[in-house]
Amino acid sequence: MDYFKPESVSEALSLLAKYGNEAKIIAGGTDVMVDIKYKEEPGCLVNIKRIPGMSAIEESGGSLRIGPLVTIREIETSKLVRERLPLLWEACHQFASLQIRNTATIGGNICRASPSGETLAPLLVLGAKAKLAFSDGEKTEPFNSLFQGPGKTSLGSKGLLAAIEIPYPPKGSSGVYLKHAVRGPMDIAVVGIAVLVVPDSAAKTLQEARIGLGAVAPTPIRAIKAEAMLRGKPLDSKLVEQAAQMAAAESSPITDQRGSAEYRRWIVEALTRRGLEQTWKAATGKEVA
């Protein structure tokens, strides 16, 4: 196996161009090392950890820019993230063990494009954008078009994720990430749900609700029909129930060893309900009527 440690994005991109499908980018390696042992060895490993400028969390205007090499633990312990993006903080806090969080990067989590990837539903709901580097230039891709299937992103085998830009959620909003897994954070999510609500200034109606579903479709998705049902309406328990059922209907889970499709839909419904109730209360101080 060939091995390279490029020191710039352009050097990495030319290696990807040269080796094509034989090349595998490696960041933290928590997915790639396991694949090498139990699936297949790539012809060439491209270790991107030496590329400068990809390891910082920076505030720029009304958003946070996170380098792809930032580890899950660095996000979890970042004051800026805790204050500004508690939803992302929460997902990173529920991400595997400390040992894995110290090694795994956010870029690896995104590029792995596992439907159950912990940070993906929160990033979708936050309206994050990915900066993708290709040999013919940089492209900004919204998260809702980044994921194309399990393990597939619009990067293909030629691009590199160079940064993630996350706008701060609107003032007065509240978000939550709810993970359902057999062994809590230690386990891969059976269902992961991110909810963000924006009440109007009088705390009477929902200006906007965003619902992200993880592990229940080929990619992480937004429950857009449920979101549309909620927009502009006063939130009561009947509407919460209807939206939760709609979110479950919008999911298209598979049956595997972690749970059946039917079970997963149930969990989507329960967690959407819980997420809406919790965020509404956190944002307005009031229980759902």
Binding site: T30, M33, K37, Y38, L98, N102, M186
Partner: protein, 167 residues
């Protein structure tokens, strides 16, 4: 393709060859002969292979040896000061937190990292610090006792616990 890995293990500089696909665990055990770090699941799930990597606990079975170039690695062999065990090791013995012992080196490293971060860990912090370490024998209660005892003893003493020390 063979890589040369220059790394500091338990305070000692070493240099040896590894393949790009070699894990840090294989490198420590099979190349450098540090057998204290255990191989168990080999997929990052169980914590038996935990080492300190630049001061932070990681599962060495999913870390490439290639990434250790220039790094400081501490294994369980690096904790004792000559014949004198590290307070975390001593506490595991004194509370009976060791049965078959296979998980113990991983736990000890996770606990060392915890007590490097916080002198007085809360029960929740203790639980979080070792939730990536699996023990099939003890039922965990005695391990939690050992951690509390080690924290108490280290808080009470002025022992400077060097990360190196293996000569």
């Amino acid at each position: 393709m063979t890589l040369t890995i220059n790394v500091t293990v338990n305070g000692k500089s070493v240099s040896a060859d590894a393949e790009p696909s070699t894990s840090l665990l294989e490198f420590l055990r099979d190349v450098l002969n540090y057998k204290g770090t255990k191989l168990c699941c080999n997929t990052g799930e169980c914590g038996a292979c935990t080492v300190l990597f630049n001061g932070k606990p990681v599962n060495s079975c999913v870390v490439p040896a290639a990434d250790a170039v220039g790094a400081q690695v501490v294994t369980v062999e690096g904790l004792a000061d000559g014949e004198k065990l590290h307070p975390v090791q001593q506490a595991f013995i004194d509370t009976g937190a060791v049965q078959c012992g296979y998980c113990t080196p991983g736990f000890i490293i996770s606990v060392k990292a915890l007590l490097d971060r916080t002198k007085r860990p809360t029960p929740a912090e203790i639980e979080e610090a070792v939730s990536g370490n699996i023990c099939r024998c003890t039922g965990y209660a005695k391990i939690v006792d050992a951690i509390a005892l080690a924290a108490e003893r280290m808080e009470g003493s002025t022992l400077g616990i060097a990360s190196g020390g293996r000569s």
